[in-house]
Symmetry: C2
Subunit: 135 residues, 2 copies
Amino acid sequence: MPADKLTATFAALADPTRRAILGRLAKGQSSVTELASPFKMTMPAISKHLKVLEKAGLIERGRDAQWRPCRLKAKPLEEAASWIDQYRQFWEESFDRLDAYLQEIQRKEADATTAPAGETAAAPPTDSPEPTDAC
Amino acid sequence: MPADKLTATFAALADPTRRAILGRLAKGQSSVTELASPFKMTMPAISKHLKVLEKAGLIERGRDAQWRPCRLKAKPLEEAASWIDQYRQFWEESFDRLDAYLQEIQRKEADATTAPAGETAAAPPTDSPEPTDAC
DNA sequence: TGGTTAAATAACCTTTTGGTAAAGTATCTG
DNA sequence: CAGATACTTTACCAAAAGGTTATTTAACCA
């Protein structure tokens, strides 16, 4: 039971069975038995997966006689998507080269300010020393 | 050690410490000691987190004397982002209402074909009965 | 050489996770 | 009412995750 939503969302997605269940629910709501049918695991196992998805807010369960129809609730995926999107620049083409270039520049400037030329001494290979608390 | 990349990526992201480490690395490469400094946990714990990130392909570790500078490798996030993006339509505004409308239509049509009026009998509340193997 | 720093590894512990089988709970059906 | 159907809940288990302390490895420094 992870405290923050982002952790719960990513944890829920970190299982192929649960991702497949979401994939199925994207085509429309479904009963638990039907959700379980593609897998070679028992109903209680599926029930647990559904509970994980429900706690993460990724599905909602209704009641219809003996059935508990599940519906997709994709809202938490929005937050996950925007978290990941922070890093888009880092995977988009040419960035690796640009990054390498910028870091090379930065290293040279650091060398120039701490010592006019050559290696100075033992120092950790760091570009920005301030610690972060952001996630 | 999850088999598929997507599972490894989401599992790696399902921890606030690891997400914070990635956040730090987005500002530039860093030594392990420095990465550990914002947290109240021991170095071996950080070492383990870094191993998880490395196995997921989210960081790369170099060598510089005693230091093992870590660099961000965001490529796996691309795959994660596009997986999530499949569901964008489900969280974007108005979709819930549109979905509700479409499913209402569908329900009425089903009722119309199986029985001219009223509830027919016990039948699972399903919109599309074919099981899926997609993730 | 010996000491210090950076980091990984080993051994260990506790909690969580993912699965099972078996029993319990509703709800429909005959 | 007595089944049957659709789940859920309750133990229970093995393995993985997340943390610790203590030890080891490697490189620098005096």
